[in-house]
Assembly symmetry: C2
Homo-oligomer: 673 residues x 2
């Protein structure tokens, strides 16, 4: 970068460098590898990327940083920053442009948190029949009378000893190792063969170990499961943020990033591949105590990948534009087998990466994975599966009929991120459980990463940073139950508590959940009227999706509900029912199934017949685009209120006393909630 | 390169740079991209790489060059350089090591010549049925009711309109272009499909042009034929030296380079791929007048490659060690289809490169190409095909039986290069035709690149540099016919001519073919006793190969002889018969067939059934390793003499008067020779 370009220094990381004049602070942060939250993908609508311009001469760094070096104030900034904040030097990183040397402080709440992801591997019961199998053979010797080539002797031995024949090919990289393998193993070697069709790896002698990797590409989280292809056991798991987050929190933001940037698709693809390669590194890094033997990249000879349609398109570098507009057509339905080296995934370069099939819209391989794992298509009961990750996906049906859909809004961000003022992902410091006393309106809460509740802790130790999805859900349910908010979702200004106050800027009511001494951000954590509206919208979207799909299948309520995904695993079903997020269902028929998509992906890795089953499911399931249904808007509006009529929720009435007399503490004591 | 490394400057090219201390001059020349002949591959046996150390201070270059900067004198240098040459500053580039700054002059005879290759495309008659075919289709529109993915709609249209179905896959790069192609072509597009199995290219609308490339990888020469896959016509041809020449002239030298250098195989592979990519560039560069439309790399959607087993192994990066030792086993027999991007060949990256099958030893895809073209396997007559490129390959047989073999020595270099004192390739300045008057022993000759014979030219215009294969053959035949040499091959010292003289260094007799004023190298061009021995050895090797194969097939002489390859195309069959290079055969049954291997490769490109035929031939043909036959040595020794008994050559007697009374000028006048 040229010497007369402005010098930019980010604190507290201390990263510095020269950046192009006129770049936004967000662009500069990417160039210098500094993380700043960009939930909306830089569209200047989420206000999460606030940074502080430190003014003055900094001889230590040889720069002179002034507020006006961040370019003219933009209208969008005024919508997210108060006049006081503006005066203090706050700017939005996505709006302010670099006009001179700058020292920029990134406050804690603007730094991307390290999410606590619960994508652990559940035990799955499956016959081990992987796509890549290893066979040991001893080759005939070549002679002057029969100077048969190495490959043909290998093919002959594989046919003779294992019955593998008919068009068996070999990848050129494996072929290159053949002469040496024969020499080193004195004619005895082990071949790893994909689908009995192609030799993809050769090792001298008897090679025992053979590994596969299941990769679950979530919009927010990447998860990897390293499996022993002989035993099926999970050898290592790892998860990480999907680094595409920097280009936007939800699917629509990422499509927009592609549409608005010439190299957008390439960036998105490279970024997720880099993220996956770091994941490969993680699963391979020796644990403590170390494995009996070291596992190398080359030992990973098979990979199965699932993700929603967009994640799969971006991984493959496929133009995703049509996914977001009618008729919501993906580039491909059928599963694909793509050479690892063609994608740049750092496993055995000859391995083929199996991409699970897509359905339509954003419903992709992850949904197929859920169905492989939960098998609603084999059930007599009508099962409703609600997979709320960043993207909300719904499956309903049984062996007769199967319908899938995505929720009409990106439910994850609505509940966890961009649209909630103090919303954040389930990272340390995020409020994940909330209880409100019905008489005093005292708040008790628990944060991610800390065992003890607020009532059991010295206030300063809470170090609260914000509120995550399960926390906001708890809070709204509790506020409703204690009468702080009315069924329409509005604050009841008649409730007497100093926690309910007017916001100085907006003049709107807000509820103080956590006072600033208990936070690490130096501000009260509050729930605004707007936050409640966002939760109402999200829950109404999920409820409406479920209801319309139940209508289409012709029944009033499902026999069972399964909650999948990171959010589905965290949410308290009773609280969700309280605010009317799901259709009514007996409490004991509601179960959390964890990362079912990742589990299904592992099934496809360990048993190649599951891949055929996946194709069959993908062809069978009907895709419904909810937003195109004529009664969608009416139903959505009807679903906004809290609570629903309890006569529509007979099972809810069993577990929750209705009305204002709800004794929260008694419920805790009895263990009911 | 570090500043205190020696500076080396090569003249006359003027290329300069710092090179590692202790590197040979040959290694330095490669680092700096200077061509020096290395016929033996740097083994210090051919003596072709003589260079001159210019001594003195060269202020212009800031260096001080002294003879002792080229390291101590090596024993091998003494075998090729006379004491006078040593005193003048001559060194062998492969032996002398850089010990300080050097200014090095590369004399003309040590520079690799630009060979005149006659690898033009002959017209071939073949049904056009290429492996890659293009199909135009119009896709159904996707709708909300049927949100069928792009790929599935394409597959459906291809099945509906062209009957292509059942497991049709798509390369990921082609898939990436699908959404845009659909948009640009408004649903109308053209798909190029490999073997009706895989879509490898998509173009919007109706795409008319589709090209394939046949590549013939010779040990010395690369040839490329760009063909229109619709019409089968050759659009452009190009040829170039195989740049692997720098690692050794013949197959054995290249294997040795691999065995003696850790990265040898990788170097050999990279080098030939670079050479092929330059060839691709050549065939694509617009001719004058230019094509009606520009052809891009991406338009080349299919490639067929033939070469001897070693050339094919090196292209693929396969360890060639076992090719050169009993039982002469290649890494693979069957033809391979390898993705262009996996080899780094700059055509459409999704194209598959078809490598013709191998037989055994060095008999590879080039030999299969010859058989595809000449079809001895379909002939009633017994056909003998002698393919003398750098490597000599023999085929004999008919529809009943087919045998192939390589000559026991690299006949090409023996006749053209390393083993002949003034031997060189058929480059400008090389003597290609020789006539000697039986009475005066006056020599008339013709050089490559010049129409007029010596007898028709001012001497200084000849600019003779050396002698190529057909020239040395002519010379030996003429010396024998004029009595200059006896049937044993020894010079007859009783012949009175000042052209026959004793060599000052060796004391051996030599014949002065061209006097120094007619040369561009400042020295007489002579034929030494040793040169004659080399020709005897080469012709005996070819003759013995033919004879042993005839014996194995159980006949005395073939019905027809076909001469293939660069040398086979150049040689005068009468002269070859004169010295007994081939078995006896009526003159009119001896034909030159040019680059039959390349022609056969084109057939495999233009008709995919020829690829199946190639596999069938490769499995059918018997490979004979001549050097392992018990009577080989005896037969070889018996074949050394000139001439063979004319009763073994009844047909030769028809065209040549026997004995010393051969009236050469009458023969020329009558047009017989």
């Amino acid at each position: 970068m040229h010497d007369d370009n402005p010098m930019v220094i980010f604190q507290p990381s201390g990263r510095r460098g020269r950046v192009p004049l006129g770049a936004t602070i967000m662009e500069a942060s990417r160039l210098l590898g500094v993380g700043i939250e960009a939930l909306c993908g830089g569209l200047q609508v989420c206000g999460k990327c606030r940074v502080l311009i430190e003014t003055g001469r900094f001889p230590k760094y040889g720069i002179d940083s002034q507020c006006d070096h961040a370019g003219p104030w933009r209208e969008a900034e005024g919508e997210h920053l108060s006049p006081e904040e503006r005066a203090a030097g706050y700017r939005l990183a996505c709006a302010a442009r670099i006009d001179g040397d700058l020292l920029i402080y990134v406050p804690e709440e603007s730094r991307p948190g390290k999410q606590v992801v619960s994508k652990d591997a559940r035990p799955i019961v499956i016959e081990i029949d992987p796509a890549v199998k290893s066979y040991s053979v001893t080759l005939d010797r070549a002679s002057l009378e029969e100077p048969t080539a190495d490959l043909e002797r290998l093919q002959h031995a594989l046919k003779r000893d294992h019955g593998i024949g008919g068009g068996l090919t070999i990848d050129v990289k494996a072929l290159r190792s053949l002469p040496q393998c024969i020499r080193e193993g004195a004619g005895h070697l082990t071949a790893s063969i994909w689908m009995d069709q192609e030799i993809i790896r050769l090792q001298p002698g008897e090679a025992e170990h053979c590994y596969g990797l299941a990769l679950d590409i979530g919009t927010t989280t990447l998860a990897g499961y390293l499996c022993d292809l002989h035993s099926g056991t999970v050898v290592a798991t790892a998860s990480a943020m999907n680094p595409q987050i920097q280009f936007g929190e939800d699917v629509i933001s990422r499509i927009n990033y592609h549409l608005n940037n010439a190299d957008g698709l390439a960036h998105l693809q490279e970024t997720v591949i880099e993220g996956l390669n770091r994941l490969v590194e993680k699963v391979l890094s020796p644990p403590d105590p170390p494995y009996e033997h070291v596992i190398h990249r080359g030992d990973i000879v098979d990979v199965a990948v699932c993700g929603n349609t967009l994640m799969q398109h971006l991984l493959l570098g496929l133009d995703p534009e049509s996914l977001g507009m009618t008729p919501f057509v993906p580039a491909h339905h059928a599963g694909l087998n793509i050479r690892a080296r063609d994608l740049g995934i750092d496993v055995n370069p000859s391995a083929r990466i199996f991409i699970l099939p897509n359905e339509a819209g954003f419903v992709g391989g992850d949904n197929i994975g859920v169905m492989l794992m939960e098998a609603p298509q084999k059930s007599e009961d009508i099962v409703l599966i609600i997979d709320i990750g960043t993207n909300g996906e719904l499956i309903i049906g049984n062996r007769q009929r199967l319908i899938c859909s995505t929720c009409s809004c990106a439910t994850g961000p609505a509940l966890e991120g961009a649209q909630i003022e103090f919303g954040m992902r389930a990272a340390p410091g995020a409020i994940e459980r909330v209880r409100i006393a019905p008489d005093t309106f005292a708040v008790d809460y628990k944060v991610v990463g800390r065992e003890l509740w607020r009532s059991q802790s010295p206030p300063a130790e809470m170090q609260t940073r914000g509120i995550c999805g399960s926390g906001i859900l708890d809070a709204v349910a509790a506020m409703f139950r204690t009468g702080l908010i009315t069924p329409s979702g509005a604050f009841d200004s008649k409730v007497a508590t100093d926690r309910l106050r007017e916001n100085a800027d907006s003049g709107m009511l807000e509820f103080v959940l956590v006072r600033s001494p208990e936070t690490s951000i130096g501000r009260d954590v509050t729930i605004s009227q707007n936050d409640i509206r966002q939760v109402q919208l999200a829950k109404a979207a999920i409820y409406t999706g479920c209801k319309l799909m139940l209508q289409r299948i012709g029944i009033a309520r499902p026999d069972r509900i399964k909650l999948a995904g990171a959010f589905g695993n965290h949410v308290d079903p009773v609280m969700a029912l309280t605010i009317g997020m799901f259709p009514d269902c007996p409490r004991e028929q509601i179960t959390s199934i964890g990362n079912a998509a990742g589990d299904g992906c592992r099934m496809a890795l360990l048993n190649c017949r599951k891949r055929i089953e996946a194709e069959r499911i993908a062809r069978r399931v009907e895709y419904v685009e909810l937003s195109m249904m004529s009664n969608f808007q009416d139903e959505l509006i009807a679903a906004l209120d809290l609570p629903h009529q309890c006569d529509a929720f007979p099972h809810l009435a069993d577990i929750l006393p209705t009305g204002n007399g709800y004794d929260w503490e008694a419920q805790i004591r009895s263990g009911a909630v």
